[in-house]
Assembly symmetry: C2
Homo-oligomer: 322 residues x 2
Amino acid sequence: MSRIAIVGCGVVGSSWALVFLRAGFEVVLFDAAPAARENAAAFVRAALADLRDQSMAGPDPVEQTIGRLSLAGSLEEAIAGATYVQESAPERVEIKRELYRTLDRLVPPNVVIGSSTSGLPASSFTEGLATARRCLVVHPINPPHLIPLVEIVPSPWTGASVMEEVTTLMRRIGQSPIRLTREINGFVVNRLQSAMLGEAFRLVEDGICTAAEVDAAVSNGLGLRWFFMGPFETIDLNAPTGIAEYCRNLGPMYQGLAKEQADPRAWSASLVGAVEAERRQATPAEGLALRRSWRDRCLAAFVAAKRRVLAEAAATPTEKDA
Amino acid sequence: MSRIAIVGCGVVGSSWALVFLRAGFEVVLFDAAPAARENAAAFVRAALADLRDQSMAGPDPVEQTIGRLSLAGSLEEAIAGATYVQESAPERVEIKRELYRTLDRLVPPNVVIGSSTSGLPASSFTEGLATARRCLVVHPINPPHLIPLVEIVPSPWTGASVMEEVTTLMRRIGQSPIRLTREINGFVVNRLQSAMLGEAFRLVEDGICTAAEVDAAVSNGLGLRWFFMGPFETIDLNAPTGIAEYCRNLGPMYQGLAKEQADPRAWSASLVGAVEAERRQATPAEGLALRRSWRDRCLAAFVAAKRRVLAEAAATPTEKDA
């Protein structure tokens, strides 16, 4: 039986636990703070109950799924017998370095260690370790029990077979992995988000529209297509013969815009302050927690709706429409 | 009774007709090509029938809604008695200039002319017209009967009251308007899309991942949140106290990425060719039409699901979750 060790039980580690549990794995949690382990277990129990309504809690009854979860009193105990380690420790390179030196001694032979880091390259905390070729970044989008994307990023010394093994594991638990060929700042997701945020802040700073209007441009416009097609498929379907025609027609326009956007700006205190003020009008500070639970409830419903609609659409080809 | 003239009945004009009709307006269509008028009427009839399943066809029976649609044999006939004109002519400035010179003579007093142009500033085809202060860009995202966002962009001489009037009209027909303060290349939507596409092509050109993996990063990751929150609200909810804290923590990382991304590149023929080849593997040329009908069917279902989920979420506040 496969047994997953989750090291670090904050928001990300807790959600990872849920992902592995509902896929049928045994999961053992460890966090240096005992309270964090207890909180994670409570989170998993509550989230599993919520997900049942969306058919996203896995095939087993909640009690049986929860029964596969255990809390380890020490890192040694968590790692012993693990077949995969998902490290979700705090995002500081000195913490990761120390942790990986310990993991390097403890981890059983051939076991892979994936890091949830959203920004640190694996090379920055695995160089010289005996286990280095079994270490890599396995970066989820928070929370992974609702958002399937996982970025798999090798360090220069990660083994090709390790990349394969983790890809297979991620698919098996229902996540959607992409594999970067090499380390790059921000990986793919945060680079795309960076491009979007850079222009979003630029539009507000230049007084073109409000932050709420930028948000509407995405949530009532671009985001409706990006929800189920990426940027490439979106434009591929927007010209009769596909993306090459689209680029012939609109490439020059985009090239012109790209030049205007090649203007990296720091987000000034006054700009951030203005956006913060606008956001606090929409959602006051004391309403943020409630808004987050609204977000997670909506996200679960949308992900469930997406699965249902895509399955129905795949099951009913409409040749007549073509 | 309000009567909308749609001038230019391609894909965009036809969808606009549907938007106004289902909102209860009378609509008169004109296109210089008689076949285009007939095609538009056929499209409206078919789409209304499809939308009924999603409760997006308006309150009236289909026959009654269709009964408010008429085809004009001439531009004069279309414009006479119109209370608003939505111009959706081909995207070439010389065509727009000539059309607007004619509209300038024909349009009744006080009637506003909104242009569907996705890229031409209104100042480029309305300068010097008697009606210039009543002309502006009212840019939909295609197709407007499924995607509610509308960009309202004034020329330097568009009247403030005209902006107000069109905003009110767009809200009344169920669209979601944003108002730019001034003309800017690409408006808001295509500037945001430009930022996204620029980085998407850069990642593929640099061999970091495939085009399909970029698409997955959005459709299985970022796009799930952007579907119902924009980029600002997304990061606002990703730090305990909101966006200012998020920017304090991650601003330096994004600033570093922005510098790497300040590298405007033309999309080379070989790069576009590689992405085109990858896309044609996923969807062969002969399958594009079928894939477009898949897209529109999915889009309608997702927009309907979004309305339902957001309405339910708003109706069931969960103070206990906060």
